[in-house]
């Protein structure tokens, strides 16, 4: 979802830089562009509309107060600003989820967000033009156990020990699944042409196809999570 919509439209980078200059209109424009994606992510993690909305608002206020950490160089890939914003939303949502579930005791602290956001070499890796279909296709190629482990960690906020306990899986196996899954995902997405990615086995590169966009999300909703209120017509 590239948000450079026209020659006269500000890019996402422009908007975040304007937010850093304390421009409230720029923040609201950023909200208009990404409110639905941010709300979808927060809702996926929290499973409740009110909490998700509050989390998204907290995240945008964090953007308002931390926009100076955003480094637009090099390049002007739109995925960079989007991923930056979604990282904030994710951290905030997981933080809320852990606090609400009383699992803050031994969880990895998320207060290192500023370090992540201000580290330029991370965001410099974001490939320009990375879109939703390509990410979904790449995730779909992961082995199910790796994909499930990543989902439990990223969207359900579980630690690797909790994942191991839940599935009765050895701890080393879970650590390996998380690491190998992310490494494979990086290999599939980091390069402009996945089939030329160095270091990948031939079958991995060939497995990267771009199927039609699935009708169902790659990660189904949490079983039992409350759905949106169905309003009668």
């Amino acid at each position: 979802m590239d948000k450079v919509d026209g020659p006269d439209q500000p890019t996402d980078d422009d908007l975040i830089l304007a937010v850093a200059r304390r421009d409230p209109a720029a923040l609201m424009s950023l909200h208009d562009r990404y409110a639905r994606l941010a709300f979808g992510l927060a809702y996926r993690i929290l499973g409740e509309a009110g909490a998700a909305e509050e989390t998204v608002q907290d995240a945008f206020m964090l953007v308002w107060n931390r926009a100076t950490l955003f480094d637009p160089s090099p390049g002007r890939g739109q995925g960079k600003a989007r991923s930056w914003l979604m990282t904030i939303v994710h951290h905030r949502a997981i933080d809320v989820y852990r606090r609400r579930s009383g699992r803050t005791g031994d969880s990895q602290p998320l207060d290192g967000l500023e370090d992540i956001l201000s580290t330029p070499d991370i965001w410099g890796e974001i490939a320009e033009g990375l879109d939703r279909d390509r990410v979904r296709a790449a995730v779909a190629t992961l082995p199910p156990d790796q994909r499930e482990a990543i989902e439990l960690a990223y969207f359900d906020g579980l630690t690797h020990r909790e994942i191991a306990d839940r599935g009765g899986t050895p701890l080393g196996t879970v650590k390996g699944r998380l690491r190998l899954g992310l490494r494979k995902l990086y290999g599939l997405l980091a390069e402009p042409e996945p089939r030329t990615a160095p270091g990948l086995p031939a079958h991995s590169a060939q497995a990267v196809v771009h199927p039609p966009r699935p009708t169902q999300p790659a990660y189904p909703p949490v079983p039992g999570a409350p759905g949106p209120a169905v309003r009668p017509s």
Binding site: G50, F60, L130, A229, P232
Partner: protein
């Protein structure tokens, strides 16, 4: 030699142990002690730092696997209000009074240099051409037009006497015994809908008009006493009283005409909800937003209720087929809740309860504050 080899093996073992955890670390899925140890190791290990960068990249694209979801209709307004409070302080709800001294974007998305006078913040003018499928707040700051009595800010929460005739008062029939309401869904629906507030405009409490207050002749001075008053003084006092009363009557009639005119012109889109149940004099209005871009959006405003306790909020519910559906949280600063409601008559009741904050409750479990029947009985 043996000791050196052992140290190298230990270092390699630590490196491997840390390296195995990098995936979990990139996903935020390690314990606190492990996170601290990993951070220290990564800071001094270029190989692990490089791999962590790649793994974090992979983690950061995961949100793209999620389907977008339309946020609640009032979320944009709430963020805007929160932003304005952040900028202007907690007591200011409106946009900045003066143009911001920083760069902004006009409606076409063109950047305005900081040196140029920036236009007032116009967040309702979407800089993005992408069509939005959720309504935006109207351009004006105060969408709900209230009658004069209710033009007050939420934080004050002044308790005003209910202007309506209470059961048993002013010749009203005594109130029937209120049935117990263990749950909101058990409140019997009322078919009346809607009830226009204009037909029952609250009589304003007659304030003292300027220049017509009690004159000095009526005040008892320090040395005055009833026995010292002459008949002339009594006649004068009665005359002044008659004049004051006549002035008040004329002024009040004029004021009522003025109020009626204003309410007819300004609040034609606001209705007062007839309460089937009300706690502590709580009242509510429903305002249709007539602007084309917010068609179907209504603002429910709550009046007269005490401020919710800390860590609690007022929550709006609508009842349809005896199912209580959560519709939103009242903004704590405006006591308003905007909802997308094209056809309110499709619902049986509107219910406001007090629930745990800040997100409310998935089901109505808190005390009922206000219940009003809607169209679907």
């Amino acid at each position: 030699m043996m000791e050196t080899q052992g140290s190298v093996n230990t270092l390699n073992g630590d490196h491997r142990a840390h390296q195995e955890l990098l995936g979990a670390y990139a996903l935020g899925a390690v314990g606190q002690d492990e996170a601290r140890a990993l951070a220290a190791h990564v800071a001094g290990c270029p190989a692990c730092r490089a791999e962590l960068t790649r793994l974090r990249f992979a983690a950061m694209v995961l949100p793209l696997t999620i389907d977008e979801r339309v946020p609640p209709p009032n979320s944009r307004h709430r963020l805007e209000a929160r932003l304005m409070r952040e900028i202007n302080g907690p007591n200011v709800e409106a946009r900045p009074a003066s143009p911001a001294p920083f760069a902004s974007f006009d409606s076409g998305g063109r950047s305005i240099p900081p040196s140029a006078p920036a236009p007032p913040v116009a967040p309702h003018q979407d800089a993005s051409p992408e069509p939005r499928d959720y309504p935006t707040w109207p351009a004006r700051v105060e969408p709900v037009r209230r009658d004069r009595r209710d033009r007050q800010t939420w934080p004050d929460w002044p308790e005003r006497p209910d202007w309506r005739a209470q059961p048993g008062q002013f010749g009203q029939p005594p109130a029937p015994p209120t049935p117990p309401t263990p749950s909101v869904s058990s409140v019997p629906p009322f078919p009346a809908w809607p009830v226009w507030s204009g037909a029952a405009a609250p009589p304003a409490a007659p304030p003292t008009p300027p220049g017509l207050g009690p004159g000095p002749g009526l005040a008892q001075g320090p040395g005055s006493s009833r026995s010292r008053r002459s008949p002339l003084a009594w006649i004068t006092a009665v005359a002044v009283l008659v004049l004051v009363s006549a002035g008040l009557l004329v002024w009040n009639l004029d004021l009522r005409r003025d109020l009626d005119d204003r309410e007819t012109a300004e609040t034609a889109d606001t209705i007062a909800l007839q309460a089937a149940q009300s706690t502590a004099g709580a009242r509510a209005t429903m305002t249709y937003l007539n602007e084309a871009d917010v068609a179907g959006v209504m603002v429910i405003a709550l009046y007269g209720a005490p401020p919710p306790p800390e860590n609690e909020v007022y929550q709006l519910w609508l009842v349809h087929d005896s199912v209580v559906i959560p519709f939103g949280i009242f903004d704590p600063t405006t006591a308003q809740c905007a909802v997308t409601l094209p056809d309110p008559s499709a619902y049986q009741q509107l219910v406001i309860t007090r629930e745990p904050g800040p997100f409310g409750s998935p089901s109505a479990v808190g005390p009922t504050i206000f219940v009003a029947p809607l169209g679907a009985a």
